[in-house]
């Protein structure tokens, strides 16, 4: 379910690391909680994000939620496909529904995040 090579945050974001590049999205659990996503607000390319800073906003039929950056870095790419097809976040949250790519500043922050198995444990302990 949750890709083994990704790292996860308590706010239900995932990050996939390739070199100093990190792709960030929200987890399958998060998209299920939100329901049908209708709009994703993304930052401008070049934005410097701090740890746990707001990346943007996801609007679903139920609610509007902030997305947080699990680690500090500079935004190098945003998923333009989400402008036309926000449903990608629901359909493929760990793949085509990615939100931004950043140049990671501190890889130590990423290492502190949860592994897929820790995240699954974290989810099972959540009191809905």
């Amino acid at each position: 379910m949750y890709p083994e090579e990704y790292r996860y945050s308590k706010d239900h974001e995932w990050i996939k690391v390739e070199g100093d590049l990190g792709t960030i999205g929200i987890t399958d659990f998060a998209q299920k909680q939100m329901g049908d996503v209708v709009y994703v607000e993304m930052p401008d390319i070049g934005t410097e994000l701090g740890h746990h800073q707001t990346i943007g906003v996801i609007e679903s039929v139920k609610a509007v939620s902030d997305i947080y950056s699990p680690t500090a870095g500079e935004v190098v790419e945003v998923n333009e496909d989400l402008n036309k097809s926000p449903e990608l976040v629901n359909e493929d949250p760990h793949g085509k529904g990615w939100i931004i790519k950043i140049k990671i500043k501190k890889s130590s922050e990423v290492e502190k995040m949860m592994s897929y198995s820790d995240y699954e444990k974290f989810l099972s302990g959540l009191d809905e």
Binding site: D36, V38, Y39, E59, V61, K62, A63, V64, S65, P86, E87, E128
Partner: protein, 486 residues
């Protein structure tokens, strides 16, 4: 039931609602000169007067309103709007008064404004009010702007506003619009503000803490005095969202809780019309420390004369044309005066009693996340429906078939699949029982026949609408090309 077509579909070329007399003077081409005529309106409907009247009358009968039935939309306080308020607002002196008439000719109307502000001060325990803001969200923004102006007058540039995770979505929006960064404060296991988290988040960089009391779970923030102490000790302000004032009115006062600024919703607590555009009114009340920053003009009285005071150098400025929505204020004043102090107290008592009657009647079936005592509203969760593949949305849609307006849904976010029920004081026991019975029947239906819920509503003018498509691909305008696809 026959679906009412769009008025464009009723259109037939050449039909009209009025016939102008034959032109008996020379035609001048300059009649429309200087007037902007929109050229991009295509297919303007051509219909007769009776067709227009019938079309909109028929449409109006498909609406649901508080004059028709139970409307437990939590945190919105959809109480009955007493008709005496309409009668009073219809008095000629109020109705035809011109806001630009000289003050000497408008003394009676100015007295209404001043009296209402004074009464709101007495009810809330605040020192000064302004009736200018036109709705709750604007009241919030005005409140935050005053806090900012006050801090800046002291040379302080604080950057952060703290807000509990149970807050109304407008709170972070207002703070954000005012240029602040928002930080969330967690709720504890009782569903109230976690004091440790608040104390840890509080610093000299925090401008304000925005709190709703009772909060959106209907739980009274019993630590409110400690909350205000913590925030004040670091030089911050406490903003109270007065959306849930219906639980406190006549019983306790935010001013006595050391709150610095509050907004009220006249269209909630004070019974002025709410749905359908109101219009609303979101008066904002402050303690003396923030009074110099109130919007200007401000209504004042010198000797026997009422006047608008524009000489307010520290004011954040004017926030609404003239002095707010005047006739809404008239309705609220009519409400306050017709009830009197004892009547106002009874509002909160009965509102709390009604909500607790519903809670006690349903809490064995519908899941409650928090055990804390609640005041004027209670929030159920849809967790118990999970096994049947049914969610709060399906319950809400099925309620429509029982002729009840659905409660507020999926809010606050800290409760899974929330159903937030606020009956208000205006409902009779009979109506409360009708709602409770409907909710009990729906819980049984969910188990026995979940499809019935998932395809609800069944007895309405339109069946379940696709909210996702409506949000993703909204079609907001009819064009001739859409003919036949309606």
């Amino acid at each position: 039931m026959i679906r009412e077509p769009l008025i464009f579909v009723l259109s037939e070329k050449g039909k009209r609602a009025c016939l102008l007399p034959v032109l008996d003077v020379d035609e001048k081409k300059s009649v429309t000169q200087g007037i902007t005529v929109r050229k991009n309106i295509k297919g303007f409907p051509q219909v007769s007067e009776v067709e227009v009247v019938r079309h909109f009358t028929r449409l109006s009968t498909t609406n649901y309103c508080v004059d028709e039935g139970f409307y437990p939309l939590g945190s919105c306080t959809m109480k009955y709007n007493p008709k005496i308020n309409e009668k009073v607002a219809g008095f000629e002196g109020f109705l035809v008064a011109h806001p630009l008439a000289p003050e000497e000719m408008n003394q009676g109307n100015l007295e209404v404004l001043k009296l209402t502000e004074d009464l709101l001060c007495e009810i809330t325990g605040m020192d000064k009010f302004s009736l200018q803001p036109s709705a709750g969200a604007q009241g919030e923004l005005v409140g935050m702007m005053m806090i900012r102006a006050c801090l800046e007058s002291r040379g302080e540039q604080r950057k952060v506003v703290l807000i509990p995770d149970s807050a109304h979505g407008t709170n972070p929006s207002s703070a954000h619009l005012c240029g602040y960064k928002v930080r969330e404060i967690k709720s504890n296991s009782r569903g109230t503000v976690d004091l440790q988290d608040l104390a840890a988040g509080m610093s000299e960089d925090v401008a304000a803490f925005m709190v709703t009391n009772p909060n959106t779970l209907g739980v009274f923030e019993s630590d409110i005095k400690e909350i205000t102490r913590i925030v004040h000790s670091e030089g911050g302000f406490v903003y109270m969202d007065g959306a849930n004032m219906n639980a406190l009115i006549g019983t306790s006062r935010p001013g006595d809780m050391d709150v610095d600024v509050i907004h009220l919703n006249l269209h909630k607590t004070f019974s002025t019309p709410h749905g359908g555009g109101g219009p609303g009114s979101g008066p904002v009340g402050v303690k003396e420390v923030l009074a110099p920053f109130l919007p200007k003009p401000h209504i004042e009285k010198r000797g026997e004369r009422y006047y608008f005071d524009y000489d307010r150098p520290q004011s954040i400025g004017q926030v609404k044309s003239f002095y707010g929505n005047f006739l809404v204020v008239v309705r609220a004043l009519s409400y306050i005066l017709s009830l009197g102090p004892e009547g106002l107290k009874e509002i909160s008592e009965i509102a709390v009693l009604n909500a607790n009657y519903i809670r006690k009647s349903l809490e064995d079936i519908y899941h409650l996340k928090y055990n804390s005592p609640t005041l004027h509203e209670c929030v159920f969760s849809d967790l118990f429906l999970k096994d049947f593949g049914v969610s709060n949305l399906d319950v809400a849609k099925r309620l429509i078939d029982y002729n009840v307006h659905p409660p507020t849904m999926s809010f606050p976010l800290i409760v899974h699949g929330a159903l937030m029920v606020e009956p208000t004081e205006t409902e009779s026991k009979r109506d409360l029982d009708l709602f409770i019975d409907a909710m009990k029947k729906i819980a049984i239906e969910a188990e026995k026949n979940p499809e019935l819920l998932k395809s609800a509503p069944h007895l309405t003018y339109v069946r379940r609408l696709n909210e996702t498509t409506a949000a993703r691909n909204p079609i907001l305008k009819w064009t001739p090309e859409s003919k036949g696809k309606e």
